[in-house]
């Protein structure tokens, strides 16, 4: 089966400085959500603008639903693409009310010949309710908050029932509680109406919740494009590990296809993600949830830091060879450990995915 969206070797530069280099990824099914994750200023927004046709690119191709939008010989103007982009900054027309702003989108879904999808299954009022802004219809953009503007922009983008929805940091101005509710409703709308969506964000939890797939943009390239589970548990490079800043790389020696050895932790069992030869020296990724706490264990290390995360504690343990290892413990665990105390680890150590570099 053909891919619904194909991004091929997309490159972009400003004044001969390369910003994006050979960006490629596909979206297989209509209605899938892809999240692009990456640090600020890396070019995530540029990818969206290039797909929308708002940026001239150096080379590459964008193919949507078997139609070439951009390649060496073709360029379809942004207004003829039926792609909606919700901008990170406030992009509401200041001289129109919220309702008039949204009607800009409705008009397209009803009258524009480029839009073959017809109107959305949700009405404007339903969408405003789902995004918790039913009372704003007659207000002007300067009369509403940044978070409200962002949700109005979302409604305006979705309501024209586009072939592709592009969202640039759509929840950056919302508080945590509201953000989660809006995300739930947005996901339901997208899945119900089968609107293929690309979301750009630097919030990995947002990406992991919403995305069917995630792309990690680092060093001008998409360095990993995979399911959220794999992105989290099986990062494919040290750069990705560094970007998530979660876990630590410890030196280890490969003993067999399922065993590693570290001088502080001893033998570590599990499934090696990549093949290594016995005796090879590697760096093993240990994330907080990989090791289990056991008060009765003989393998004990000193606690040097403790972070309370509500549902859990993350203890940082110092090993004799000066490794600093994070360990996740459920916050209801009966023994609280304080700094400088000894903290036991369950042996033998078993980690589902042995991610080594």
């Amino acid at each position: 089966m053909e891919n619904y969206l194909e991004i091929k070797d997309l490159s972009f530069s400003i004044k001969n400085e390369l910003i994006l280099n050979d960006i490629s990824f596909n979206i297989k099914n209509q209605g899938d959500i892809v999240c692009i994750l990456g640090p600020s200023g890396i070019g995530k927004t540029t990818i969206l603008r290039s797909i929308a046709g708002l940026r001239e690119i150096d080379k590459g191709a964008v193919i949507l639903n078997n139609k070439i939008l951009t390649d060496k010989n073709n360029f379809i103007e942004p207004e003829d693409r039926n792609i909606a982009l919700s901008f990170q900054e406030n992009a509401l027309f200041p001289h129109y009310t919220v309702e008039e702003n949204i009607k800009f989108g409705i008009k397209r879904s009803l009258f524009c010949s480029k839009n073959k999808n017809g109107p959305l299954k949700y009405s404007m009022d339903e969408l405003l309710d789902l995004f918790f802004i039913p009372e704003l219809k007659n207000k002007y953009p300067h009369e509403i908050s940044a978070g409200q503007s962002q949700r109005v922009c979302l409604v305006r983008s979705i309501i024209h029932n586009p072939d592709l929805l592009l969202l640039d940091e759509p929840f950056s101005n919302l508080d945590q509680n509201l953000k989660e509710k809006v995300q739930e409703n947005l996901k339901e709308i997208i899945k119900t109406c089968k609107i293929t969506t690309i979301i750009v964000t630097h919030d990995k939890y947002e990406a992991f919740y919403l995305g069917d797939y995630c792309g990690i943009l680092l060093n001008k390239k998409i360095v990993q494009f995979d399911s959220p589970y794999n992105i989290h548990h099986i990062p494919n490079s040290q750069d990705v590990v560094k970007f998530f800043n979660r876990g630590v790389l410890v030196p280890a020696t490969v003993q067999s296809h399922d065993t590693l050895y570290n001088e502080d932790l001893g033998q570590i069992k599990g499934k090696l993600i990549k093949n290594f030869q016995s005796g090879e020296k590697v760096n093993l990724l240990i994330q907080p949830e990989d090791l289990e706490h056991d008060d009765s264990s003989n393998l004990k290390f000193q606690v040097i830091d403790k972070k309370f995360r509500g549902t859990s504690f993350i203890y940082t343990l110092k090993t004799p060879s000066d490794l600093k290892i994070p360990v996740f413990v459920h916050s209801h665990h009966e023994h609280l450990h304080h700094e400088d105390e000894k903290f036991g680890l369950k042996t033998p150590i078993y980690i589902d995915h042995l991610v080594c570099f």
């Binding site: 001239e56 080379k59 909606a84 509401l92 001289h95 800009f104 839009n115």
Partner: protein, 541 residues
Amino acid sequence: MLSQKYLKLPKFNYWLVSSLLISTIVCIPIIVISTSFFGELSGYYELLKDTYLYLYILNTLGLLIGVLIFTFIFGVGSAYLVSFYKFPGSSFFTWALILSFAVPGYIYAYSLTAFFEYFGNLYSILKFIFGDGNYNDYIPRIDSLFGSILSISFSLYVYVYLITRACFIYQSQSQIDAGKNMGFSDYQIFKRILLPSARPGIVAGLSLVAMECVSDFGTVAFFNVQSLTTAIYDSWIIYDDINTAYQLSFFLIFFILVFFTFERKSRGRSRFSIPSRGYLTIQKKVLKGKIKWLAFSLLMILFFLSFIFPVSQMLFWIIKFPSNFNLPQIVDLTINTLQLVVLTTVILISLSFVTNYGMRITESKFLSVITNFSVSGYAIPGIILAVTLLSFISFVSDYFGNENLKLIFIGTIFGLIIAYCVRFYSLAINGIKTGYEKLNKSLDDVSYLMGNSKLGTFVEVHFPFLKKNLILISMLVSIDILKELPLTLILRPYNFDTFATQAYIFASQDMLEFTATPSLFLIFFASLIILTSRKNILKGF
């Protein structure tokens, strides 16, 4: 190596071409004057240099300093009172003070002279009240340099008032509260907080005043002040020595360029002084007791002197000499003036829209640079513009041996409109640019993504958003054209007069009371424009 950008081919750039054309026309005067300054010196210039040149320069400087002092006091003082205090009439004065913008300096000069001259109106008033007496000896003669300073100050202080007021009302109440918290009195708050932070705006206003002041012709010519503008006019019209006119123009352009640069720099800084969000609106202090009447009286005197006085003088003449009111002539003048105003405004606004829209969608730096250069047309006094455009057209038509060019451009409405466009291009283009700067570029992108073409975006997004700016700019340009004197005087078709030229002709023939009708009609139309767009004017600055 990166591959060439191939996905969008460059198209023929209409915006670039049209801007280039306008800029070229605007550049002509500057180039002509700069080159001629280093050209051959005529005998008349040598004579001037040894005799009156320094007097011209000194007079121009004296005029400038006097006008700057007066406009600063009138403009900043009135802006301070209406921005920070509530007192009887404060809302009225906020817009009423702008009305003095409708009275050109030269009409003010006619009123001053009529009032203070021998056996003038002041004499009549004194005689009416106290009976016969030798009052002439006690009535001060307000004419010459001081008369010019007063006339020009009353007609130009509005620039300082409007821009300073804008700076004052955009200041945050929290600044004032911080001052109070530190124990400052109202005066200390004004001196140490409000005045320094409004400084860029004040400088911008004063620079505009300075540019207009040194290029004034009507007032100084009427008062016989030997300034650079009158010398340019004389050397060209009386001595038929165009080279000397150019050489004198060079001094004037130099003065103006200094102020122009100053103005641009201070404007550039003032952008940062106006916060976009998160500031507290000024809480006006309610004045009580004698102070409130003092504030009222000060602004009433200013309003009276700058607007009521010249208007009542003109009205007095019309009532006193009803036979001077020539209806067919007034109809003619009205048609002539209004057709120039309407045609020029429409053309100018369209040109400015084209260039601004072009700059926005092409993002061309070249276009931006040439447009910036072309706006310097505002810095060229009308009289110089007229002289250089005339001689340029003569030169081109002689060069090509085609007399038709002269017929098209010289002494025609078409030629006059082109000259107006060059002169006021800066006003129009900057006005629309200010509007565009407030319209985020991603809104264009949103519109494209909603399926609108570039034209559709212009019609549905830009035009409704810029409507208020458009009205404001049209009004300002219209008032300026109504008042413009030297350009019209020199370039107008034969037997074609506007209110301004007709009033000037009567005044120069010492038929002062005849100036009343054209002057009053000029003030009437300008006031009408101001009154209908006063909210836009107050918001727009």
